[in-house]
């Protein structure tokens, strides 16, 4: 049972050398072996999205992936969103628009939204809603999450324009 494998997980730009059983999920490895507990575990079977992280540029459910599968791919978690003390526009906007209550779903939503807006900064409202609908929240009633992501979309766009101009 405990034939452990050595692997390196690159999370938020930092290498973590870990030794894990092949059956270990990515979320467990991130939380237990790399001590990054910002990624939450909810349903553990791919429905809620609380465990969403970005692996190799794609938002994935880290409870549905084995740690070994993430070897060699850059992994991003909620801990890597802010740069130093400066929060990511999405983090700011979730706070300002009350896009969270208990906050347990929040890291997953943030990673999903970051990935979506980075891939498609001009994403339309309807498509945005479709993407976001892959995650669940039991508290807020979603309206403020939508509000927060839309506001961040505008914020990120103006920033890009400012950089481009």
């Amino acid at each position: 049972m405990s034939n452990k494998i050595d692997l390196t997980l690159n999370i938020n730009g930092q290498d973590h050398a870990v030794s894990v059983e092949p059956r270990k999920t990515l979320v467990d490895a991130i939380r237990e072996d790399c001590a990054l507990t910002g990624t939450h575990i909810g349903c553990e079977h791919g429905v809620c999205g609380a465990c969403t992280v970005i692996v190799g540029g794609e938002a994935v459910r880290s409870c549905l992936m084995f740690a070994v599968q993430a070897q060699g791919k850059p992994i991003r978690t909620v801990e890597g969103l802010a740069s130093g003390k400066t929060l990511h526009p999405l983090q700011r906007s979730f706070m300002a628009h009350h896009g969270l209550q208990c906050g347990f779903c929040t890291p997953g939503f943030l990673m999903l939204a970051v990935n979506t807006l980075e891939k498609n900064p001009a994403i339309g409202d309807e498509e945005l809603l479709d993407v976001l609908s892959s995650n669940l929240c039991r508290c807020t009633g979603y309206q403020n999450i939508i509000l927060a992501v839309k506001a961040a979309r505008e914020d990120m766009r103006t920033k890009e324009e400012a950089v481009a101009g």
Binding site: L36, G38, C48, V78, Q101, C102, G103, I146
Partner: protein
């Protein structure tokens, strides 16, 4: 900005009434907020549970031998082992009826029978698979109405906790499944009903649904022979402390409960859940033990009460309701948990926000062989409103009266007596109803959708609830020598935003920015007593205590100023005040506040009391729907919810509480249901038990409040955690009836139910599946 004693620019209302972003928001968006589910202690080991597969039976044998051999397994524990460390292994808030692990008998499928403690949770889980048990199966009872007369008894004898005076007479009662019957009698129902021009009788039902908070139940117990510490996902640390102290026979000061942020609770994490088990396991392992549920396991912990509500009303020729009888049966499951309180505290409002002279209420808490039921965002009231507001619309329809006018004629307005006899005060139910109607544009012509198979309809509902009483809260405000303020209060912020709202109250009194107030994490070694974060009581009760504590601190600072010779009205910086008094940055000023409202116990048998609640919660919802009569599919085009919040301390938080509660109850109303077959839950996972997602949002969801100053409330405020849940169900059912003329008496209102009802109405019923 330095805090000063009497700032000249101090403005009343500069902190309360402001949509302050949540104080802990930054921790939550950076992944740094603590939750019990993600916590680890050095040397910690993990427990997993082996659960019963039968609904009711005697335990013949448990074989743990194979599990014990798994490398990494430290202990495999049954109740016999538990009883070596805790003589009486029974716990519970109203009855001491729940064993830490099944004792001699199992009473529901999923009941914990044995626990494996291992160095790794996956090893523990694997070992659990190797445990086997043999049971002598016994007949079981699942339905709440059957349980009343069944000769299957879930418990051999009842064991009420000594804390509740009104349960004393049930001590050792045998041959019954009734854990409590609450009765209210006002006027003469029989006579008034018999004499009434119109008589109506209906039966409504609600299904078994559950909280599914996203952080599942979790508890870590670190037991030492001298004291014990819990890290606990709990809504009521003070209660946990009392109950653990009782189990150990220890004084409370040796029991410490630390509660980080909660990945919500909605009533599920109240009273005592995993704590007694964690205690026993930690005593056996002599190491910190963590018990953390998976999502699946939450289906075997606690749910909402299914209910059957038989309601009868007599109406006179003018449309005035003259008599009402409410018989409510609550399906409490295998262990009482707080069911008896739900039965009583919601039972007293079973007749609704109406002015009726002759009222008869019987509300029964029943044991059955399913997962226990407890509090879920409304303490039973949503189940009651489901019935009485459906009933109201059905009567209006039968009487050919406008549903608005019918309600108006019967509203319980301020100054009138409630069914309990209490004179209604701060009860602006008509204001709430009017706001719903205004937002629904009720008086304008309504488009019913022409001749297509899509039929449009609309409906609304109103409700009230009495806050649980009497309960106590204590708070401390500590001003440090640099002038900064810290609040110690036991209200658990599980997402409702209490930390921020309480800090706003402190800031308002001390004239400082809310953002500068620190709220300590809950820790019973430090934070004073609070009855629990439940029933929308906190903003009112703890709010009072917090305000008093802040005022006490302010007064003490003023006294200190006098003591050091400051002139009256001096605006000395607080830090300087401490400097002057102690010669350096030293000392504290500690203010404290306690609140417990006045209360008169309802008279036994009649439920009458002049003062049964310190405040009323009021809500209304309106819904517009489109029913596809070919499929039964219901599209919700509008859902408006209005509550009376007294005064919005944090308007954005209030709105989010309303929208979250409304959408949660949209789920309960439209599709959520625990399917139970022979006592076995057949959809115990988030994949099979659907909860609302983005696409279930109504086209238009409005969350509104009115502010009717609560005259005895802190800053005029009262709680709003539950109130938006009350009316969603009946508003939707009334709208569906309005659209296509079918009345559904049992939730959920999914496409199959609606289609079946449509077919039945056409005289072509579908066969049962």
């Amino acid at each position: 900005m330095a805090a000063t004693l009497n700032p000249s620019d101090a403005k009343v209302g500069s902190q309360v009434g402001r949509s302050v972003p949540r104080l802990e928001g930054r921790d939550k968006v950076t992944g740094r907020a603590e939750y019990t589910h993600v916590m680890r202690l050095p040397g910690m080991v993990y427990a997993k549970l082996f659960r019963s597969t039968v609904a009711h039976g005697k335990i013949k044998s448990i074989d743990t031998s194979a599990a014990k051999k798994v490398p990494g397994v430290l202990h495999v524990v049954t109740v016999d082992d538990v009883m070596k460390v805790l003589k009486s292994p029974y716990y519970g808030p109203a009855f001491h009826d729940q064993p830490i692990l099944a004792h001699e008998k199992v009473r529901f499928v999923g009941e914990p029978v044995a626990a494996v403690i291992a160095t790794d949770p996956h090893i523990a889980e694997q070992a659990v698979q190797l445990i086997t048990a043999e049971y002598e199966e016994m007949p079981a009872v699942f339905d709440e109405v059957e349980a009343l007369t069944s000769d299957v008894f879930v418990h051999e004898q009842l064991k009420p906790a000594h804390t509740f005076a009104d349960l004393k007479h049930l001590k050792d009662a045998k041959n019954t499944n009734v854990a409590l019957s609450y009765n209210l009698r006002r006027g003469d129902f029989d006579k008034a009903f018999a004499a009434a021009e119109h008589q109506f009788e209906h039966e409504f039902k609600t299904q078994k649904v559950l909280h599914l908070s996203f952080e599942p139940f979790a508890c870590i117990c670190d037991f030492k022979d001298t004291h014990v510490t819990f890290y606990d996902s709990s809504q009521g640390p003070s209660f946990v402390r009392t109950e653990i102290a009782r189990l150990l026979g220890w004084p409370e000061n040796k029991v410490r409960i630390k509660v980080p942020y909660l990945g919500s609770g909605y009533g599920s994490k109240l009273y005592i859940k995993l704590e007694a088990l964690a205690l026993a396991l930690a005593m056996i392992a002599r190491k910190p033990v963590k018990v953390a549920h998976t999502f699946e396991e939450m289906f075997y912990q606690i749910t909402r009460h299914p209910s059957t509500f038989r309601i009868k009303s007599g109406v006179d020729k003018n449309g005035k309701i003259v008599a009402r009888k409410c018989e409510v049966y609550w399906n409490g499951g295998a262990y009482a948990d707080i069911g008896p309180r739900v039965t009583q505290k919601s039972g007293l409002t079973a007749a609704g926000p109406y002015d009726i002279d002759n009222v008869w209420i019987d509300s029964h808490a029943l044991y059955t062989n399913v997962t226990p039921s407890g509090a879920l965002r409304g303490f039973g009231v949503p189940q009651l409103v489901w019935a009485y507001e459906g009933h109201t619309d059905m009567m209006a329809r039968a009487l050919k009266m406008d549903p608005v006018e019918f309600r108006r004629k019967n509203l319980a307005i301020e100054g009138r007596a409630h069914a309990t006899g209490q004179i209604l005060q701060d009860h602006p139910i008509e204001k709430v109803m009017d706001k719903v109607l205004e937002r629904m544009e009720w008086s304008k012509p309504f488009d019913r959708g022409g001749n297509s198979h899509i039929k449009r309809g609309r409906g609304f509902a109103i409700a009230n609830k009495a806050v649980i009483s009497p309960t106590t809260s204590v708070a401390i405000v500590n001003v440090s020598a640099d002038g900064s303020a810290t609040l110690y209060c036991g209200t658990v912020d599980m997402g409702q935003g209490s930390d921020t709202a309480m800090a706003q109250m402190v800031a308002e009194v001390l004239n400082i920015p809310t953002e500068d107030v620190r709220v300590t994490p809950r820790d019973t070694d430090v934070t004073p007593y609070d009855m629990g974060t439940l029933g929308s009581r906190s903003l009112f009760h703890m709010g009072h205590a917090v305000r008093r504590a802040a005022e006490d601190a302010r007064d003490k600072l003023k006294a200190l100023a006098k003591e050091v010779g400051e002139p009256e009205g001096s605006n000395i910086p607080i830090a300087e005040l401490f400097q002057k008094r102690y010669g350096m940055q030293a000392g504290n000023v500690i203010g404290s506040g306690i609140y417990k409202p006045d209360y008169t116990s309802p008279a036994p048998g009649t439920g009458q009391s002049p003062n049964v609640t310190p405040f009323w919660m009021l809500a209304g919802s309106g819904a517009e729907v489109e029913v596809d009569t070919e499929t039964g599919h219901v599209k919700i085009t509008k859902l408006i919810t209005v509550v009376d919040c007294g005064k919005a301390i944090n308007p954005k938080s209030v709105e989010t509480q309303i929208s979250g509660a409304a959408l949660m109850h949209l789920g309960f109303t439209m599709f959520e249901k625990m399917h139970i077959d022979g006592g076995q839950v057949t959809n115990a996972s988030l994949a099979d038990y659907k909860i609302p997602g983005f696409h279930d949002l109504p086209t238009k969801l409005e969350s509104l409040y009115v502010e009717h100053d609560q005259s005895n409330g802190p800053f005029g405020a009262k709680g709003v955690g539950e109130v938006a849940t009350f009316c969603v169900g009946p508003a939707l059912a009334n709208a569906i009836d309005d659209a296509c003329g079918v009345r559904i008496m049992e939730m959920p209102l999914n496409a199959e139910t609606v289609y079946r009802a449509l077919r039945a109405k056409m005289g072509k019923p579908l066969e049962d599946a």
